[in-house]
């Protein structure tokens, strides 16, 4: 539920209309000029239809310098951003030799494993020397080393399921496993804000897809009842199986899934659940085991648990955890297991070491400290931002916090002003988010110290005043102090 000031909604529509109109004018004149000039197509068809890349050419390229900024150091709490300039109004960008040291508020570095770690890095380098950088073959040929089997056992134990299978890339885990598990007479009910990898996997499976309103178990129940009653399209035969796909933390909203209610609904109507914990594994929960631990859901109730290692573990790849029969079946059929190169051994060793640190098996309490720190950092940052009057989405305890911008002009303004003050922020616009709801997304890490966060808050507050995104009235600090003094008396 997002609260938009009405005037902002009107001005946002108007701004997008104006940008669209200007883009159409420029396209129109470009067509006329090109008709006069010669083409070098020589009988070849064009790569994309002229309307298909309209958004990229006329809207995205104008503010291209805010996206895809190259960095030249590890994505720790502070990192080096390469400075770029453009001679043709952002159509092409050229890199300079200058590096700007910025505070990193954009990397998914939830537990701080992205930079060198005293326990994980020596072990990863050791594994690199032993096994080399790549196995150069898929798992079934020659790509299963002792590291891989250890990793799968480690992941299964960590997540709380009997067995797990690991693939080399996070996106591919969803888009290659869903078509294998799900066939033609199945029904997939997916949350309306699911990630693109799930959408692609679902489309590739050939099953029927229905969408339910984001994080609303009552609407899920309504859709389930409607679909079970109607049956398959045209033949109206009963569905072979129904699977509900949800995510643990939604990366664009920072909201945590309402898992207990959704599990209850699925049990009632005998549907399977697929939980994508890309952002929540390792980052939430008392011992970092994800949303199931945070919300008190038994892992035996969730049929398939999927996650990635890119966010909290500082590595690459994804996993699927489930029952032994499921994982055995996947090992026979999943193309990512049969044909894709297996996960690189040093990356796998990094994950194993990171899990050991989180669980405290390395002999120190650094894991528990990291988990406590990310929770404290997230809650502190979120409450401070809300106090200053920003509209921040997401639940408490979630390390992802989007700040709403709305107007398209505020996106590059916020991004560039923050970069001038050495804070690197990721801004997200259409089509990754709905048209109206452009936002700046902040990901808090356990490696951010309190001073870093306070500096970030100062910069964001200043830039927020300049750009005009404090949509809510700020709560004055004085009131809190007075309340405190009254209580003491």
């Amino acid at each position: 539920m997002i609260t938009i000031p009405y005037l902002t909604a009107l001005t946002t529509y108007f701004s997008y209309g104006l940008l669209f109109a200007f883009g159409q004018f420029r396209d129109f004149f470009r067509k006329i000029f090109d008709w006069w000039g010669t083409t070098n197509l020589q009988g070849y068809a064009p790569i994309s239809l002229d309307f298909e890349d309209f958004y990229t050419r006329r809207l995205y390229l104008r503010i291209q310098d805010c996206f895809g900024r190259p960095i030249s150091s590890a994505p720790d709490a502070w990192f080096d951003v390469v400075e770029r300039y453009s001679n043709d109004n952002n159509k092409t960008l050229k890199r300079t030799e200058k590096r700007i040291k910025c505070l990193n508020l954009g990397s998914y570095n939830y537990l701080g494993f992205a930079a060198a770690d005293e326990y994980c890095t020596p072990r990863a380098i050791d594994s690199l020397r032993r096994f080399s950088a790549s196995t150069c073959s898929p798992r079934v040929d020659g790509g299963t080393t002792t590291v891989h089997t250890e990793l799968e056992e480690c992941v299964a134990k960590f997540v709380g399921k009997p067995a797990a299978i690991v693939t080399g890339m996070g996106y591919v885990t969803n888009s290659s496993i869903l078509p294998v598990l799900i066939g033609k007479a199945w029904l997939i009910i997916s949350d309306s804000l699911n990630h693109n990898s799930i959408v692609n996997g679902a489309r590739g499976s050939g099953a029927t897809i229905r969408v339910f309103q984001h994080n609303t178990p009552s609407h899920l129940e309504k859709v389930l009842r409607e679909q079970i009653a109607e049956g398959q399209p045209r033949t109206h035969r009963p569905w072979k199986k129904i699977i509900v796909v949800v995510e643990g933390i939604y990366s664009m909203e920072g909201e945590i899934c309402k898992l207990p209610e959704i599990v209850a609904v699925c049990k009632k109507y005998k549907a399977y659940i697929y939980l994508d914990e890309a952002h929540s594994i390792g980052a939430v929960g008392k011992t970092g085991r994800g949303v199931c631990e945070l919300l008190g859901v038994d892992t035996a109730d969730v049929d398939i648990m999927m996650g990635t290692f890119t966010k909290s573990f500082g590595s690459c790849g994804g996993y699927i955890a489930g029952s032994k029969e499921l994982i055995q079946y996947l090992k026979y059929t999943c193309p990512a297991h049969l044909y894709a190169t297996s996960i690189s051994p040093p990356a796998a060793e990094q994950i194993i070491s990171a899990i050991k640190v989180i669980l405290g098996e390395d002999g120190t309490s650094r894991g528990a400290q990291k988990l406590a720190r990310i929770r404290q950092n997230s809650n502190f940052f979120r409450s401070e931002l809300q106090r200053m009057g920003f509209e921040v989405l997401g639940d408490n305890d979630s390390p992802v916090m989007p700040i709403m911008l709305y107007n398209p002009a505020k996106i590059p303004a916020f991004s560039r002003e923050c970069l001038k003050q050495n804070v690197a922020i990721v801004t997200v616009a259409f089509p990754a988010t709905p048209l109206l709801l452009a936002r700046a997304r902040i990901c808090i890490s356990a490696s951010h110290s309190r001073e870093d966060l306070i500096k970030a808050l100062e910069v964001i507050s200043q830039v927020g005043d300049l750009v005009g995104i404090k949509y809510f009235p700020a709560e004055p600090k004085k009131q809190q102090q007075e309340k405190g003094t009254i209580k003491l008396e």
């Binding site: 539920m1 997002i2 609260t3 938009i4 000031p5 009405y6 005037l7 909604a9 009107l10 529509y13 108007f14 997008y16 209309g17 994309s48 239809l49 309307f51 298909e52 890349d53 309209f54 958004y55 990229t56 309306s192 804000l193 693109n196 959408v199 969408v211 339910f212 309103q213 984001h214 609407h219 259409f430 089509p431 709905p434 048209l435 109206l436 709801l437």
Partner: protein, 157 residues
Amino acid sequence: MANLYVKAVQPPDLNRNTEWFLYPGVWTTYILILFFSWLLVLSIFGCSAGMAWTIVNLAHFLVTYHFFHWKKGTPFGEDQGIYNGLTWWEQIDNGKQLTRNRKFLTVVPVVLYLIASHTTDYQHPMLFLNTLAVIVLVVAKFPNMHKVRIFGINGDT
């Protein structure tokens, strides 16, 4: 006005091209754009109020016919072209007919026609042009015209 807030629930529409129309404030923005363009035409051309409404009506006809009923597909490539055969009008509300949004969009040209013909005192040639505009727009929005291409004009290549 600055303190008036609206709640936006994200609608379950997967088509990013049409999903923006389901948020609050779209209808008001549409009506305000028409009103402000009338003021703009009045100030640029210095014509009578009726003439300005006629110009707005005809410009509205050209613009909405081109973008709602002529241009097909979506302005971005991420959906891999599954809507490439459908105009914007056929895409909204997932193809469901006679929803609130569709009824509103059908009423707007009719209201514009009534305003334009009233303020020009039903004189020719403005009346003829306005009538032509409203007939074409309203017929294009009929449920029976869903995915119909007359004589194959604007059909898929």
